[in-house]
């Protein structure tokens, strides 16, 4: 076994996350093998996801090497974490010293586990504590360095995800010292990631030293990476530098940088796509950035006046800066030229400067012209709408600045001119003009600004859509999607029009796929409302296909989670009908059905499972679902309801394992309800295909018994005979285990007994049946000899005695009864021979003979105690022979009046009075019944029949026409009863009384009390609940209360969809829905 384990571990590539290569104390040459065991266990957890097996391995190791407990605890903790049993993992942690490396390893594994489970705060707390313990330490051991580095990196990612980029960036500073000379690539990546985090942090800060410092550091990191090589990190560094420019307000530099490197980024993107790493592509980042720039420009152009003026001034100030820089250059070159000429003059040499005299003046002229143009623009802006007071200062300073520049240029000594260079001549693309124009645009007329803004928005949308559709499932795409929504809203706000996207062939679908995937992301994060929005948006353009189907399935679940039940139903109907048969859709129903099942929301899980069964009848789980629904009803003893589902299963799913089980259940359901003909049908079908075993034997017994109960003794006999034949061979196919043998033995006994019993009942009257009766007696004798200890043995003797009596063989009968009393003195039959005789005669359907025996007993009443007359009476009462029963009960009362010593009169008299009341009521003698019951109630106020007697008395009084008194009797029940079942029953009786008295409102209130307060799953209450609902619907309908009709009808059809009256209720509901909108009244 151990060898096998080792071989297995060698075959598996394992991770060793926690417990390195440390050898256990006191270990021997077996250490490498032990190490492999630990690796193997770790692999079981992390690779094969079998934590249970791993724990067993640890159990074994701990037994053999108790000193390794600390190590095994680590592995156990890993197993707990894998199973998400974090609390148990923490408890394990408490058993290991806190500062031990092992404890720390478990701690971090636990933190990771919490992270995976979405418990971010706990994760953060553990990591923060860990790093706080190691504030300044830089480990030297390589393994520990690696571990520390990995932990620091992981934590930084968590901090980033938790939206704390500054802290995340700070963690990187702890990682850098841990990198070695071979980690150059890793260093580039980390530098770049840190830069990105710093920029994220900077964006959230106001202008100031802190922000500048972060930007500076980000720039330094990015520069380092850019100059370090041409790889993925290079691309991202370019994007980072562009961000830096943006944050510093240098939009054009950002754009220029991106455009300059765009081709390179695109090639990188292609290579990354091929490698399946498109989500890392900096090209997407660059496009997004360009999108953002254009969007921002659009926003500024349409912002409020104050914002626009501030932005305009910013551009105009930059324009002024450009002019100043240009002048500074012109002046420097001119001064240089002048210096050359001066030197030549001093040296008395000749030097010719480039350009004609006119050309040499041109830069000055052009500059002054441009600067004056700028000044005019400023004056124009001032004289137009003017500037708001908020920016007056700034505007004035700008004006002065420009004027001063013009003066400086004007007064400059131009006699030598300046060497004409292209960069001294401001052309159309001169930055000063560009900035100036931009500034003007921000304060231009609304129409012009709107036009410019829309063109920027269009450009932004183009960039964003490129990202959105090109990088599905990435953060880029998600952000781009959000940006697109914002831009579209803004455009609609500005123009009143919707933005429509004219996509190329397949473009709309491509975009829709991305939208749907975004929906999946939101769904997986449990942001159901947002997921719904995305799904509906995506399905708009991409309504059918595999991806939309997955979306619809998730949408169904979203509606369930947000409790939008109307939308849930609509979506379910659509999914089942339009996509019927599709396994993806089927899965959605099972998933959401399960959700409501676990919530015990019967109404909704039934609805979903029924849609599933309608839409996906061929799905592999359909039979299971039907069976499960049947079992749900079975559990609450709603056999009628259960059979509906089993029948559906057997009709359609004959080749599934549940087919036979369902047949068996059908048989049992009818059998338990006493519907023997149908029980026969059910069991017969089951038996036709069932395999040999105890279940089959039991079913056969019930089949035979059902026939017997129906009086079809010949059929019963045949099946009993077959059954005994099956089970006679104890080593046969039916005996699959010891337990089966035991159960089969019990079944055999019963079958064997009833063989004789049926034989006897099959016998014709008189001589014709003599032979059969003789056989029956012989058979029963054999039974008693074979199974002397069986509980049926006394009954067998008693039956033999009864047959002998019928045959007129009284002496033999007496001998048998004597044998009964001697051999089975503890049995009831043994103790009361005459009673046993009577019972047997009743059981073998010789009721007249039984009454003769009773008559004999009554003639000799003194010989029999009161309780025997009571039992005799009950035997007759059970067979509906109430006349005989009443006589027996009356005899019992007479005997009690004579009061024999040793008889506990109280018990027996109560039972007699109760039973007498029942029989008299059954004989339609309500007044006499009431007399007996009143006596019971008065003489025995604390009787166990307290409630039952009152129910019966109430009925008797109603029968006698004393409705008021009947109501009074029920009042007692209400006063004393605490059991909800009794209260429900009493309420039902009360409602009937109220109806009989014409008090419809009272009856309705009573029924509604049951509907609102009862638990319909209680098998005793259920029939009352059903009646109450039905009557409520009926009475509400009579009263024209349509809303109540609908509500109660819905409950009825939901609970009792196939019950008697269900169709009528459905018709009433439809009528009510119509009536309540048209205001009709009930009939």
């Amino acid at each position: 076994m151990r060898r096998g384990l080792l071989l297995l571990s060698l075959a598996i590539v394992l991770a060793v996350p926690l417990h390195g290569q440390q050898a256990p104390a006191g270990s021997s040459i077996a250490d490498p093998l032990l190490e492999r065991e630990f690796e193997f266990a770790s692999g079981l957890i992390h690779k094969l996801k079998m934590p249970d097996l791993a724990e067993r391995v640890m159990d074994r190791i701990e037994m053999e090497y108790p000193t390794l407990r600390e190590r095994t605890t680590v592995v156990r903790a890993e197993a707990m974490i894998e199973r998400r049993r974090f609390r148990q993992a923490e408890e394990l942690l408490a058993t290991v010293p806190k500062d031990s490396p092992k404890a720390q390893a478990i701690l971090l594994a636990l933190a990771d586990g919490y992270f995976m489970a979405g418990e971010r705060e706990k994760t953060r707390a553990i990591y923060a504590d860990f790093f706080n313990r190691h504030t300044n330490a830089v480990p030297t051991d390589p393994d520990v360095r690696r571990f520390f580095r990995d932990a620091a990196y992981k934590f930084s990612q968590m901090l980033a995800m938790a939206n704390d980029p500054l802290a995340a960036a700070g963690m990187y500073d702890r990682i850098f010292p841990l990198l070695g000379p071979d980690d150059r690539d890793a260093l580039r990546q980390l530098k770049l990631e840190q830069a990105e985090l710093l920029l994220r942090a900077a964006r959230g800060l106001p202008a100031g030293k802190e922000r500048e410092s972060l930007i500076r550091k980000a720039r330094a990191n990015s520069d380092e990476v850019v100059w370090g090589g041409m790889d993925l990190w290079f691309g991202r560094a370019v994007a980072a530098l562009a961000h830096v420019e943006l944050l510093e307000g240098n939009e054009d530099k950002a754009i220029a940088l991106l455009n300059k490197n765009m081709e390179m980024l695109r090639k990188l993107d292609e290579r990354l796509s091929e490698a399946g790493l498109v989500s890392e592509s900096p090209y997407a980042g660059a496009l997004s950035l360009l999108g953002r720039i254009h969007k921002d420009r659009g926003d500024f152009l349409t912002a409020s006046r104050e914002v626009r003026e501030a932005e305009a001034l910013r551009f105009l100030e930059r324009a002024a800066g450009e002019f100043e820089e240009l002048w500074s250059l012109i002046a420097r070159v001119a001064q240089r030229d002048a210096a050359i000429l001066d030197r030549a003059a001093k040296e008395k040499t000749t030097v010719t400067l480039p350009g004609t005299p006119e050309a040499r003046q041109e830069p000055f002229l052009r500059f002054l012209e441009s600067a004056r143009q700028f000044e005019r623009v400023l004056l124009e802006l001032e004289s137009g709408d003017g500037w708001t007071p908020a920016v007056a200062d700034r505007k004035n300073k700008l004006k002065e600045r420009v004027q001063k520049l013009i003066q400086t240029a004007d007064s400059f000594d131009k006699k030598h001119g300046v060497s004409p260079q292209p960069d001294l001549l401001p052309g159309e693309k001169f930055a000063g003009f560009v900035e100036m124009e931009r500034g003007r645009n921000h304060v231009a007329l609304e129409e012009k600004r709107l036009e410019l803004a829309l063109s920027h928005y269009a450009e932004a949308l183009r960039r964003y859509y490129g990202v959105f559709s090109g990088y599905p499932g990435t953060d880029w795409s998600q952000n781009a999607g959000e940006a697109i929504d914002r831009i579209k809203s803004r455009v609609k706000e500005l123009t009143g029009k919707e933005v429509t996207i004219e996509a190329r062939e397949g473009g709309r679908e491509k975009i829709a796929r991305v939208v749907l995937r975004e929906g999946h992301n939101l769904f997986s994060r449990k942001e159901y409302e947002k997921a719904i929005e995305q799904y509906l948006k995506g399905l708009n353009d991409f309504p059918e296909g595999e991806e939309p189907l997955a979306a619809l399935g998730n949408l169904l679940e979203c509606y369930a989670r947000v409790s939008d039940l109307l939308s849930l139903r609509v979506t379910a109907e659509y999914l089942a009908e339009r996509f019927g048969g599709n396994p993806l859709a089927a899965q959605a129903f099972l998933r959401v059905g399960r959700y409501f099942f676990e919530q015990n929301n019967r109404d909704l899980y039934l609805f979903l499972y029924e849609r599933y069964l309608e839409g996906f009848p061929e799905h592999p789980s359909a039979a299971e679902i039907l069976f499960m629904l049947g079992e749900q009803r079975w559990k609450v003893e709603d056999y009628e309801g259960a059979v509906v589902y089993y029948r559906r299963l057997v009709e359609r799913y004959t080749k599934t394992p549940r087919y036979l089980q369902s047949l068996n259940r059908i048989g049992w359901a009818y059998y338990l309800r006493g519907d023997f003909p149908r029980a026969v049908e059910g069991f017969s079908r089951f038996l036709a295909d069932a395999q040999a075993g105890t279940e089959k034997a039991q079913a056969k017994l019930c089949l035979a018994d059902a026939y017997r109960q129906m009086g079809a003794y010949a059929d019963a006999f045949q099946h009993y005979a077959e059954l005994t034949g099956w089970l006679d061979n104890k080593g046969g196919a039916f005996s699959t285990s010891i337990e089966a043998l035991r159960k089969n033995e019990e079944i055999h006994q019963q079958a064997f007994f009833y063989l004789g019993y049926c034989k006897m009942l099959m016998a014709g009257a008189g001589e014709a049946g003599a032979a059969s009766r003789k056989e029956a007696i012989a058979h029963l004798r054999r039974f008693v000899e074979t199974y002397p200890k069986s509980t049926l043995a006394p009954t067998a003797l008693s039956t033999m005695g009864a047959i002998l009596l019928v045959e007129g063989r009284s002496d033999e009968a007496a001998a048998v009864y004597q044998e009964l009393a001697t051999q089975y003195p503890q049995s009831e039959a043994g103790q009361n021979a005459r009673l046993a005789m009577l019972r047997s005669l009743i059981e073998i359907q010789r009721l007249e003979k039984a009454e003769e025996v009773l008559q004999e007993m009554l003639r000799e009443a003194d010989r029999y105690p009161a309780d025997q007359f009571l039992r005799a009476g009950i035997l007759f009462q059970d067979r509906g022979r109430h006349e005989a029963a009443a006589r027996a009960f009356e005899a019992s009362l007479k005997r009690m009046d004579a009061l024999t010593e040793g008889v506990r009169r109280g018990d027996v008299e109560q039972r007699v009075l109760m039973a007498l009341g029942q029989s008299r009521l059954a004989l339609n003698r309500p007044a006499e019944a009431a007399e007996a019951l009143r006596r019971l109630i008065e003489e025995y106020p604390r009787s166990p029949f307290f409630f039952e007697a009152r129910f019966l008395l109430g009925r008797a009084l109603r029968g006698a026409g004393s409705l008021k008194e009947a109501t009074e009797v029920l009042r007692d029940v209400f006063l004393r009863a605490t059991d909800q079942r009794l209260i429900t029953r009493a309420t039902t009786e009360l409602a009937e009384l109220q109806l009989a008295q014409g008090d419809r409102d009272g009856a309705l209130a009573s029924y509604q009390r049951i509907v609102l307060l009862s638990k319909p799953d209680d098998p005793v209450i259920r029939p009352f609940y059903q009646k109450a609902l039905y009557e409520s619907v009926r009475l509400f309908r009579e009263g024209g209360r349509w809303d109540d009709v609908v509500e109660n009808a819905n409950r009825f059809t939901s609970e009792f969809p196939h019950a008697g009256g269900a169709e009528e209720v459905r018709r009433w509901r439809s009528e009510a829905i119509l009536r309540r909108t048209t205001g009709g009244s009930g009939s």
Binding site: L536, L539, N540, D541, P543, E544, L566, S567, R569, V570, T571, E573, Y574, E577, R578, G580, S1070, E1071, I1073, L1074, T1077
Partner: protein, 269 residues
Amino acid sequence: MRVRRLAAQAFAVFALGLEGAWEGVWAGNPIVVLPDGRRVEGREVRAAADGTIILILPEGARLEYPKGTRVIMDEPVAMGQALERMRKKEYDEAIRLLQGIVEQYRFLGWDLKALKYMGLCHVEIGRWDEAIRNLDAASEGAADLTSDEAMRVGLARSLAGLGRRDRLDPLLDEMVRKGTRREAAAAQVIRGRVRLENGDIEGGLFDFMRTARFFREVREWVPEAAWRAGETLERMGKPEQSLEFYRQAGQYPESEFGVRAKTRLEKGS
């Protein structure tokens, strides 16, 4: 010669100067398509009263083919005119033109198309019986027309108009489950209306809601679906939920339901 050989290999009857009762029209560039896919070009084509197709070859010879043989020819001028009238909603005039095509092109294929459009015209003016007659005749003659989207929708509308649930219900079921998106949308709205009429308010609502929500691309039916969903929700005492659908319907001002929705929203606000 080739044509003659082809004709001999097919089941044509070669007859010279045979004068039989015939109906038909001189149609430009007729081509007879044989069951095995081969084509025979002619100069003229006619159909006899019993449906026999008579093809006059360019050199004047005459071939006969059994009824039901596929014929390809230029579209009759009247067809374009009729369709134009339909676009302008001049249905009676369109019917008149189409009737002419049915008579002139009987058994030649265009009659079935004309029957189809006649049926659709009748649908638009609510002559359900005639619509059904025409559409049934068209689909009986051409198997491909039985799955024609416009015809199925037209047929469903007509059957609903007449209350012919025996045919309507299975048709709607088929359209919803397996039809094109347009068919499904149409069938759902029609079924929704029928359900409402029969007191199944919830069933009707579900049909309207699902069309409005999941079939937005079928602009022809969505305004009605949205309007009716809103209206039904309001009837059921759920005015807040109805607003979503009224707003949706209101996005189609060109539709009568869009106008109704806008009015309703204005009244409510």
